[in-house]
Subunit: 298 residues, 2 copies
């Protein structure tokens, strides 16, 4: 059990002080006792300078190795496509017993990328704080970004309990609610609740964009009729989403495959006038909606 | 030009005082001078009684023919699947020169259903007020439901200008913005901005509902990550949507076909790691989103 009057870590190194990373730094700065000392690492000197201007770290550097050597915890907050490379840059320099964690939105591929360079004396706790906005970069962070949001932990079989507990405590002090699950299960859940909706939102925007001139402009005029709700989540960072789609390929393609079968079945019911089938599927949608309202998620 | 200090019609008959119909009645009651006298028609005596309790009509009756005989305007506010039958019940009893209008969400099929029973001496002005909530019935109506919402008129080649102008004025006094287009164009536009998004929302809810127990319940827990935005529009009335899907079959299947091609192309890009293609499609989604924000539709 971590004493919540003490700091969880002495020195916390955040690699990639973007939306998520700089939110953790802001939270640490706001007296939540995540760590006594905060170091931000970014490959861009301009980002490092901005972090210092914002006053959200004690030190900001482009030298990942030098920072890692001082860390009690290294938190990787970089796009999932480069997690493996960045882990390889910091792990050889970490002190025995220091904790490695990441915040990637997919877990199986990140764990696969990091596993080859893992060390037996550096516990690794994969995590995924389910929070975000459509903005990115060190200015986008918010001290309360994780408040009442879920953070999923997907520890490995050999991850020591003390390291899991420390990372759990860190996210709790960020305001998050915690849940543990296997990496594979995590990826399936995120594929249906987040990645597939985003893929569909991006796709329908593209479909509308391809329509001939007059209709295309009318899509914008009349978007309030439903289309608009779909575009709200289509504003997020393209590189981040490209990486997520590619990193969670298997689970996402499986969910998309199920969805496409269901959409084809709906198309067939519409073509052949199968009214009962259509009503049954619509009523299922309403049931899910009702459950969400009962869970106060709506 | 209609004098807006006078009533547009002497007697307005609203057939089907549900969400849309009872909102028009409420608007007329609120001093907007749509008509001097308001008659509601519904096949359900309970609905008629409720309309009188709510005080939103001078008379409420199950006798469509008797009401139609007194009308200067008959507005059909019934599901699109029964528009033809209801038109056949009222048209033979309407006075020469009285105006027939409807509020159906699809236009080609409604016009096809009504055309065989049309009379040369009864002008018909098809309309579609693009407004709604997830509620239905006479209690669901709102006096400001149409405020700043679009109402699309799809007049026929032989619809007299004076009848178009009267219906236009009615919706303007309801607070709506007007646009005229052909019925076929209307159905294509609504297929992409409204019917396809609803179909996809119902479908993804069904896909999630079919998942095995544990994942299914987690969809509800973690819905905030994108899924929730899709369910917001999946709460609407099943019979209304079944009718809309069937009534706008051609345009909806065409838009769904385009969407499925695009989703398949995205799936293929993810499977084969075509990062450029994925980024290009995501960026198009962001562009549409940006255009919406510039049009203050977001």
């Amino acid at each position: 059990m971590v004493d919540d009057t003490a700091f969880i870590f002495d020195t916390l190194v955040v690699v990639g002080p973007g939306l998520i990373g700089s939110s953790v730094l802001r939270r640490a700065r706001a007296g939540h006792r995540l760590a006594r000392r905060l170091i931000a690492v970014d490959s861009s000197p301009a980002v490092c300078q901005r972090v210092m201007e914002l006053g959200i770290a004690d030190e900001a550097t482009t030298d990942a190795a030098a920072a890692a050597a001082q860390a009690d915890c290294v938190m990787l907050c970089v796009p999932v496509g480069v997690m493996g490379d960045v882990a390889a840059q910091v792990l050889p320099f970490m002190r025995p017993g220091a904790v490695l964690t990441d915040v990637g939105s997919t877990k199986v591929s990140v764990i696969e990328a990091i596993s080859p360079v893992l060390r037996a004396d550096v516990p690794y706790v994969p995590s995924h704080p389910m929070a975000g906005t459509e903005f990115s970069g060190p200015d986008a962070g918010l001290v309360d970004l994780f408040e009442n949001r879920w953070c999923l932990l997907t520890p490995l079989d050999n991850t020591p309990a003390s390291a899991i507990e420390a990372v759990r405590e860190l996210w709790q002090r960020c305001g998050a609610r915690l849940r543990e699950m296997t990496p594979a299960h995590h990826d399936r859940v995120c594929a249906i609740v987040s990645h597939l909706p985003h893929l569909l939102a991006f796709t329908i925007c593209g479909t509308a964009d391809d329509l001939a001139g007059e209709t295309r402009s009318e899509v914008l005029d009349f978007a309030a009729s439903g289309f608009r709700d779909f575009t709200r989540i289509a504003a997020s960072d393209p590189v981040m989403w490209r990486d997520i789609f590619l990193a969670n390929r298997e689970a996402l393609l499986e969910m998309l495959g199920r969805f496409m079968e269901d959409a084809q079945a709906m198309a067939r019911a519409i073509r052949w006038g199968d009214a009962d089938y259509i009503v049954d599927r619509i009523e299922r949608g309403r049931e899910i909606r009702k459950s969400l309202i009962e869970k106060q998620q709506a």
